[in-house]
Symmetry: C2
Subunit: 283 residues, 2 copies
């Protein structure tokens, strides 16, 4: 299966422009599955629910419908971050459309980062694994979003449910230097492939937000976030198969035989999953 | 606190020689705590219980008593792998002696590797965290052994119990290339320090073992294991502070302020431990 990650600058609060960018990337990527960044349709840096309310949509809304049409028209599976509305609640979600345009999977980010804690609800559907049809066959896929990268439990729960590929729409701002090291470890420790689609560029609050009375203080309002790019596709042995720059718009592609991830055996006596105690670890 | 890892070739089945090697390393290391490899008193590569029965000792036996005396005489804390007997059962254990020579902690390896599965019982005391007195203060310590490196759950359970340092007596034979990457991730994802003491050299079955009728086949008997060295001391940010070679006898030392590991906060909104769901992950 050919897997692509599209790395770009989502236009801030401009869903129409971002839909067209996504259409372009899905069309241009020579791949069966294209993974896009977190909140790829809206931009990322919001501090209040008032700011995101006009941008959030339900899964039967115009944006999700357009994404479905893009996948169907291009006959490619598409995974993207999505600012989801559910009544008066908002979730930092990821959606997966199969090559027929069908919504095959959804994840609501569980580990919320920074101001996300003020505007999104914590994900309440666990870590689902689903079958994703592509023109090169069906993949068992799980999704994580950005800050989930720090939590070995998240990737583990997906892998134990049979995920062969973890797709990670992200908007990473970390300066720890441990990002790729950790992603390699996540793939290796679970023997799964990993497609990490990150954004580039930076975001400060827009002028209309600066004028909003709902902002707590000017010092917060003037804050700016720099995104780290470095999108990567990692195989089940922790090897980086494709790697993007930190600051350029790029599509990276790698071909992976996902069926190999199903074998967790490393020698005649050890299987990294069945060697876990049947009672679990209490985590 | 100054932490050392001693990397060497344990003499195969020669506990007297290994006690003297350990005494020399503990004496020579300019450190408050010295970590030694897995099964450092006996050597590693055994295939049957008949082979290890004459080498295994209880914790009130002569070997553990000698280790206690070494720690007390040098006023240094000592952590070492230990082939433990408990009735007619055997455990691949790690023991921690404090700077007064008191046995402060014990761990029985839970994830057994390769032929260990045939001769040792799976560890049955979980992942204990204990207070270890040194001449530079008290450290909260947990221990893991070798193959445990692949299991994020093991380090996580220790860190959630308050471990500031994870000591890892090991006899690593992996050729994956992911060893140090994974150890860095273990430290980073838990914000704990890590002291990984590995052995060097290789072991085949000794001639007396080759003659034993208890061996399953000659093809097994002729097998040889190569150990990877690369002992390392890693800080809570995943940085390697000290690193040994793959094949030389060495003592590596690093000074770490373990109190910093107690703060799991990374920004005003996020704490990597309290951001975990209170319900856990079902792992």
């Amino acid at each position: 299966m050919k897997i692509a990650c599209a790395q770009f600058v989502p236009a801030y609060r401009d869903t129409a422009t971002n839909l067209e960018q996504i259409r372009k990337f899905v069309h241009g990527a020579e791949a069966d599955l294209i993974v896009l960044p977190e909140l790829a349709l809206t931009g990322y840096f919001f501090q209040t629910k008032d700011e995101i309310a006009p941008l959030a949509e339900t899964l039967d809304g115009a944006l999700a419908t357009s994404l479905s049409h893009i996948a169907e028209a291009e006959q490619k599976a598409v995974i993207t971050g999505f600012l989801e509305r559910d009544g008066d609640r908002f979730y930092n979600s990821a959606l997966a459309f199969d090559a027929h345009g069908k919504l095959a999977g959804k994840y609501r980010k569980l580990h919320l980062f920074y101001y996300e804690t003020q505007i999104f609800e914590r994900g309440n559907i666990g870590f689902p694994v689903f079958s994703l049809s592509t023109t090169s066959g069906v993949a068992k896929v799980g999704m994580l979003i950005c800050y989930d990268w720090r939590y070995p439990e998240a990737a583990r729960v997906l892998a134990l449910q049979g995920a062969e590929l973890i797709a990670m729409p992200s908007n990473i701002v970390t300066t720890t230097g441990m990002l790729l090291t950790t992603l390699q470890t996540r793939a290796f420790e679970n023997k799964v492939a990993l497609a990490f689609a990150d954004r580039i560029g930076s975001e400060s609050l827009a002028s209309e937000s600066l004028a909003s009375e709902s902002l707590a203080s000017e010092s917060l309002a003037s804050e700016s976030l720099n995104f780290r790019g470095s999108s990567a596709i990692v195989d089940m042995n922790g090897r980086i198969l494709a790697q993007a720059s930190e600051d350029k718009e790029e599509i990276i592609v790698a071909e992976i035989d996902l069926s190999k991830t199903r074998n967790k055996r490393i020698n005649p006596f050890n299987d990294i999953f069945s060697d876990r105690p049947s009672t679990g670890y209490g985590l």
